[in-house]
């Protein structure tokens, strides 16, 4: 009885030792991975900063004004004026019978395979 206990506990110790060993390696691997990921996050943040700067640069008021002027024929963008505020009752309801005709409809009926 006693020897069985000894053998079992010895086996348990060996098993636990193996588990601890493998856990240690897994931890090391995870640390390496998180290290790599953090490096990547850093690089991406740098990239993001560049993209944000570029976005701000492309959206600077000077450029937008020039673009609005260049594309005036198509867009007819003007500065906001006080007269452009309106009331809800100035907006006309769409007439019921003048809904645009539906064109280019696609048939979506089919069989669902089980």
């Amino acid at each position: 009885m006693r020897s069985l206990l000894y053998i079992l506990s010895a086996l348990a110790v060996m098993g636990l030792a193996y588990w601890a060993y493998s856990e240690n390696y897994k931890t090391q691997a995870s640390l390496d991975r998180s290290h790599a990921l953090q490096g990547e996050i850093g690089r991406m943040q740098e990239e993001l900063a560049v993209l944000r700067a570029e976005w701000a640069y492309l959206n600077r008021p000077d450029r937008l004004r020039d673009l609005a002027r260049m594309n005036y024929d198509k867009l007819e963008l003007n500065v906001l004026e006080p007269g452009q505020f309106g009331r809800v009752d100035q907006i006309a309801f769409a007439d019921d019978d003048e809904l645009p005709e539906i064109t280019g409809a696609v048939d979506v009926i089919g069989d669902l395979e089980e």
Binding site: L31, Q38, A49, R52, A56, R60, P82, F85, I91, A92
Partner: protein, 601 residues
């Protein structure tokens, strides 16, 4: 273990037979037994001591070994805990009130040379001059072939230039990473942002330090890594700032002014929505300040000069409203009290006259403001007395530097007379003899606009604002707003009317002082201090033009009503819709019905 009997019968009988004492046998046996017991117990305690010593040894060895490894090994950052976003090394961004970027960082490279590692210095110099035409070939060759071991060639280069330099293939040309401050909007809000430059420089990094504006004022905050890269949020609105700057620039050109400033302020929070000063500069490429070499130029001629804060000038008749408010607050007058402005006025030998020696006769307090009568406010100031006048102007913040958070605000200290006597009191009542910046005026007018509470101008976005101390009664503030409205509807600022926005304001025209005393005849500072809509003001707008002249008429006109007021009106017309303010319907026009009929049951 066998127990030995103390009196073994065989030996006892034997001893008796020999006539010996049998007790001696018992004694001997007893002694032997005691010896045995003692030996056993000593062995056991020795064993225990040994085990204990073993434990201690283990403990000390463990501690010692740990100390040894700690002292012998290299220090390492703990890898197991994720740093997250708590530490940011870059300088923080600056955003406008809607989160749009006003200043950010860009990674770039600096180019440096180590001539002793160079293979072919002449070729390197030739190629460098081809890439950077501003470099001098002779100078480069002298540097490369001399005794220098290290020199900077360019502080900031673009990726294309870097590649081109890389393609030279010279091992003595090296790159160091740099963080560069970028202002993507160029000149926009240049005076608020200020600018940045490099501080201490090393091969692998360089310090970016703010040199002016909020960049310098909040340098510690922007550089502090513990903020985790939290941006600095300004109260400036990019869209509105752009609109104001643009209209102001047009106005400045049209009125032939050499400079202009505009401030748009929220009257309840003191947030500066827009502050412009022209001429301006590009903070990406900040011009150098004027030095002794620039003879004959005043600091105010430099584009770096912030007229809105550093431009301390006499602001003229815009101060009259303060005199009227104080007189009403003290119960000396009410808006309808009539004061005779026709009587000639002489204080300490100086004659107080009206604009172009007009004579307005008897005027009510309200009309004194509308017609801008110097003698009228002078008489009120005499009733108030100089001490009470000083106190009131101090509570409005007109006697101290403005608390706006940019470094240039140190240059905004008002100029006040040394002896504030009767004469000063009278001239200050109509804005002469005291010099303030437009920012001071904006804060004081904001107090009138918000019903009499003091306002602290700020350039930072406010999330929660405590209401300031009361500086004037609500009734006087309301009466003052009515007067200011009348100035626009029937007074000197008739060009200030913007349909639907009920502008109220006061003009101010002041002669510019000569550097050596006295005043110019043909150089003025024109100011229009306005608020809108005047029945429940939300914003205060101050427009100042430096040396404007309006030349559409037969004679050049230099009054604020002809110069600053139309510019301010254009700004309001342009900016109010952007601020989301719907115009009041002043005229009731029948709306074209569009097929909707409201019915009720």
């Amino acid at each position: 273990m066998t127990r030995v009997p103390l009196r073994p019968l065989a030996r006892i009988l034997d001893a008796r037979a020999k006539g010996e004492n049998p007790d001696a046998i018992e004694c001997e046996n007893l002694r032997q037994r005691h010896d045995q017991i003692r030996n056993e117990s000593r062995l056991r305690s020795e064993g225990r001591l040994l085990v204990l010593a073993g434990f201690f040894l283990c403990a000390f060895v463990t501690v010692g070994a740990r100390m040894a490894t700690l002292s012998a090994s290299e220090a390492q950052e703990p890898r197991a805990q994720a740093p997250g976003s708590s530490i940011a090394t870059a300088r923080a961004d600056i955003l406008d009130r809607q989160g749009r970027i006003l200043a950010t960082n860009l990674v770039t490279h600096a180019l440096y040379a180590q001539p002793h590692q160079m293979v072919d210095p002449e070729r390197a110099a030739d190629e460098l001059v081809r890439i950077f035409p501003d470099l001098k070939r002779a100078r480069l060759i002298k540097d490369f072939t001399g005794s220098r071991k290290f020199l900077w060639i360019k502080k900031k280069i673009s990726p294309e230039q870097k590649q081109a330099v890389f393609d030279i293939g010279e091992p003595g040309l090296l790159f160091g990473p740099r963080e560069m401050r970028l202002y993507p909007n160029g000149k926009l809000a240049a005076h608020v942002l200020g600018g940045a430059s490099f501080g201490r420089e090393g091969v692998s990094a360089a310090e970016v330090i703010g040199v002016a504006g909020v960049e310098k004022q909040f340098d510690d905050f922007l550089r502090n890594p513990a903020n985790g890269g939290a941006p600095l949020e300004l109260s400036i609105d990019l869209t509105i700032q752009d609109a104001v700057e643009r209209v102001l620039y047009g106005g400045m050109k049209m009125m032939n002014a050499k400079g202009a400033a505009a401030i748009l302020m929220d009257v309840h929070t003191g947030e500066v929505i827009s502050v412009a000063s022209l001429p301006d500069f590009d903070p990406n490429n900040r011009p150098r300040p004027l030095t002794v070499a620039d003879k004959g130029k005043d600091q105010s001629d430099s584009p770096l000069f912030n007229r809105a804060v550093q431009g301390v000038y006499e602001l003229g008749s815009t101060f009259k409203i303060f005199t009227a408010i104080q007189a009403m607050d003290l119960g000396l007058v009410n808006p309808n009290t009539v004061i005779d402005t026709g009587v000639p006025m002489k204080i300490s030998g100086y004659r107080i006259g009206e604009f172009r020696n007009k004579n307005y006769g008897e005027l009510s307090v309200s009309d004194i403001i509308v017609k801008s009568s110097n003698r009228g406010t002078g008489r009120m100031a005499l009733q108030i007395g100089s001490e009470r006048q000083q106190e009131f102007l101090k509570t409005l913040g007109l006697l101290d530097r403005t608390p706006l958070e940019i470094v240039e605000a140190t240059g905004s200290t008002p100029l006040v007379p040394k002896n504030w006597g009767k004469l000063s009191s009278v001239t200050i009542s109509y804005g002469h003899g005291i010099s303030n910046s437009p920012m001071h005026l904006a804060a004081a007018y904001a107090s009138i606009a918000n019903g009499g509470f003091s306002v602290k101008p700020t350039v930072l976005k406010q999330h929660h604002v405590e209401r300031g101390a009361r500086v004037m009664s609500e009734r006087s503030a309301a009466a003052a707003r009515d007067m200011l409205r009348k100035v626009v509807t029937e007074g000197t600022a008739s060009f200030g009317e913007v349909e639907g926005y009920l502008v109220g304001g006061k003009t101010g025209t002041a002669d510019k002082p000569k550097p050596r005393g006295g005043y110019y005849d043909d150089k003025v500072i024109n100011t229009f201090a306005s608020m809108f809509p005047s029945d429940n003001p939300k914003y205060v707008l101050i427009v100042t033009l430096d040396e404007p002249v309006e030349t559409s008429g037969t004679k050049p006109r230099r009054t604020a009503g002809w110069t600053a007021v139309p510019v301010a009106a254009t700004i309001i017309e342009r900016v109010a819709p952007l601020l989301g303010m719907k115009p009041r319907e002043t005229r009731v026009e029948p709306l074209a019905a569009t097929g909707v009929t409201l019915t009720s049951n």
